[in-house]
Amino acid sequence: MKIMVAVKRVVDYAVKIRVKPDKTGVETQNVKMSMNPFCEIALEEALRIRESGLASEVVAVSVGPAQCVDTLRTGLAMGADRGIHVEFKDGLNPLSVAKVLRALVEAEKPGLLILGKQAIDDDCNQTGQMLAGLLKWPQGTFASKVTLDKEKQVATVDREVDGGIETVLLDLPAVITTDLRLNQPRYATLPNIMKAKSKVIKKYTPGDLNVEIKSDLEVLQVTEPPKRKAGVIVSSVDELIDKLQNEARVI
């Protein structure tokens, strides 16, 4: 079985971001970029499934500008067998990415798709779900545990939901999106980084896949959240009730 993992290049999680002066978005020039942490977890899970003998190949896919190749190389260094880069400069959105991935699924015919639950730059949490919808495949999102049964061709997924853990049984092929507690991604070792240089990354454009990248949404403005006001120490319970009632208007 082939596993396809989608990975996104995002601003590194440790970077202090700031909004561009023209408020059109977040400053990404001269900013460190890395693989989305949830995508790392997705790739790690795929690698573990392959290492347990339940899959034959892990293919890493990234949609985005030319530098996505760096992200794919990291994925290859972690252990993915091949990479696919769908090059598109600017203006991606979850639905368009889902359509691109659907086209790749039709070409590659994987038995399992693993994605990160969301990207840390837009926090959309949509691509995996939309992709499952487009493919009409079952989905197990927010996965904190994944168990495959090759014979029965099913996947048991523990999902982290508001009420606790929900366990679902999915017929393969299926889409799984990963949550934080699923696994601890491995380091890409130096020898593997060196070996990854010779692994293949195939290039496509959205046009090659007959997908038109367009958005029905327009970003009007991006601003920083309002600065937190200093706390106020109240002198009595009455004062607290008064403030809650008349200033915060929550009671």
Binding site: D12, A14, V15, K16, R18, P21, N30, V31, K32, Q184, P185, R186, Y187, T189, L190, P191, I193, M194
Partner: protein, 476 residues
């Protein structure tokens, strides 16, 4: 740099347009005759330049592997250096192996060139092991700590190419140092304070001095209305000519600031560092292609303009051993009349770690509170440095003797590491019995090496943390 820029489109595009030099008192500025001539130079971000150079190097076939820490030098049975070993990754705080454990790897080569910057952790070991300073009767290295912020200021106040250096306030006449304000492009201004680490008062807090400095009326007016984009700190060499070690060892050589080629009166070291790298490359080429000895690197250095330039600049910094005014006077004489031709070479004073007085000879300094607009507390600044280390790892700042902080540093020197560290790695906190104990917040570390240099008993050893950790400078 000019040729490089024209032909290769390097991010070197803001030429210096003005050069100012001020002496500051608490409220006033006095313009002094400018000893610098920066015409023909450029104001750049070294982070951006090295990132660009990395891309060019990879295009030429150089393999660059960031995110791996060189933790040890590898030797053969004859004590020749044969390469470096990277650190193990995935080790827990208590020393045990985590699920993600990966063994370090050995990288071996015919030649190993060390370019770790000022106070390189492996370079210091090599210099000591092969007695590289003793070999040429060089003096010890002396250092300064630079603390810097990049601001985005009001368009109306921004002058790309403007260069300013100041002396005086907030530092006293016994403490060598000064500030710099360089206007880059995109409304960005690089501003910082550099303090020599041979300061005597253990209560001195270089970070707080820098925050104080920004409140000077002339500086305040420049920064008001602006925002800080990034923060960082790093030590630099001030030993100059007198401290250059023999830079060749069996199996390799030391280049750049790890050896120490910074020109102190010019306040520049990137040009000599780059040149030393080029000379080492030429020497290495002859070693690899003709089998000659790396010793020729030292000959190339001595015949190059690095040697001539540093020799000429050698008597400025040591002159300040006599104090600020005598130092300025001697510097004036050197600059206008003698130009390095005096037949003697002044010596450095005590090594920086020995220069600290005991606390009882001084009174604690009261620093003003941060106002959150011009000045900031350390955690706020640290957040702006994009510093990150994997949390569950052993502290990379190691104490040779774990009892010294509470036995010596705290009672004798009032815990100077809790004051000179620009990242608040070192804190004395009361334990469950109310007794003050040293707490090392290694995750905060900016990799500046100040502690390795300034600790009075040289008890703190800076070692490499797990690969990939450290500050995230992008416009510094």
């Amino acid at each position: 740099m000019y040729l490089l820029k024209i032909y290769l489109q390097a991010p070197v595009d803001v030429p210096v347009l003005s050069d100012k030099f001020w002496y500051l008192t608490k409220d006033r500025t006095f313009a002094l005759p400018c000893p610098f001539n920066n015409r023909g130079n450029y104001v750049i971000s070294l982070s951006q330049l090295t990132r660009w150079m990395g891309v060019k190097a990879e295009e030429l076939g150089v393999e660059i592997y960031p995110g791996f820490a060189a933790g040890e030098v590898l030797y053969d049975s004859n004590d020749n250096v044969v390469g470096v070993g990277t650190n193990d990754m995935g080790i827990s705080k208590d020393g045990s192996k985590k699920e993600t454990f990966q063994h370090g790897v050995e990288l071996k080569g015919k030649l190993t060139l060390l370019a770790e910057g000022c106070r390189g952790s492996l370079s210091e070991k090599i210099i000591s092991k092969y007695n590289l300073r003793g070999k040429v009767q060089a003096q010890h290295q002396t250092y300064a700590l630079g603390i810097k912020e990049v601001w985005e200021i009001d368009e109306s106040k921004h002058e790309p190419g403007a260069v300013l250096h100041t002396l005086g306030w907030p530092l006293d006449h016994k403490t060598y140092g000064g500030s710099f304000v360089y206007h880059m492009k995109d409304r960005q201004v690089s501003i910082g304070l550099v303090i020599a680490l041979n300061y005597q008062n253990p209560y001195l807090n270089p970070y707080e001095e820098f925050q104080k400095f920004k409140h000077h009326p002339a500086i305040k007016s420049l920064l008001e209305g602006g925002t800080v984009i990034q923060y960082g700190a790093r030590t630099l060499n001030e030993g100059g000519f007198q401290s250059i070690p023999y830079p060749v060892f069996p199996g390799g050589a030391i280049v750049g600031c790890s050896a120490g080629f910074l020109n102190v009166p010019k306040i520049k070291g990137t040009h000599t560092a780059m040149k030393s790298g080029m000379l080492a490359a030429e020497a290495a080429f002859s070693v690899l292609s003709e089998g000659s000895s790396m010793v020729v690197y030292y000959d190339f250095l001595r015949k190059s303009w690095i040697w001539e330039e540093l020799k000429k600049a050698r008597n400025y910094r040591p002159a300040f051993e006599f104090g600020l005014l005598p130092g300025l006077a001697i510097s004036g004489l050197e600059h206008y009349i003698f130009k390095g031709r005096l037949p003697f070479t002044l010596k450095h004073g005590k090594p920086d770690h020995k220069a600290t007085n005991v606390a009882k000879l001084h009174t604690p300094i009261e620093y003003p509170r941060a106002d959150g607009i011009l000045s900031f507390d350390v955690p706020t600044s640290l957040h702006r440095s994009n510093t990150n280390h994997e949390h569950d790892q052993p502290a990379h700042l190691q104490l040779r003797d774990p009892t010294i902080p509470e036995l010596v540093n705290l009672p004798e020197y009032a815990g100077p590491e809790s004051r000179y560290c620009p990242a608040r790695v070192y804190e004395y906190v009361p334990d469950e019995n109310g007794v003050l104990k040293l707490q090392i917040n290694a995750q905060n570390c900016l990799h500046c090496k100040a502690c390795d240099i300034k600790d009075p008993q040289q008890n703190i050893e800076w070692t490499v943390p797990e690969g990939g950790g450290g500050p995230g400078y992008s416009v510094m």
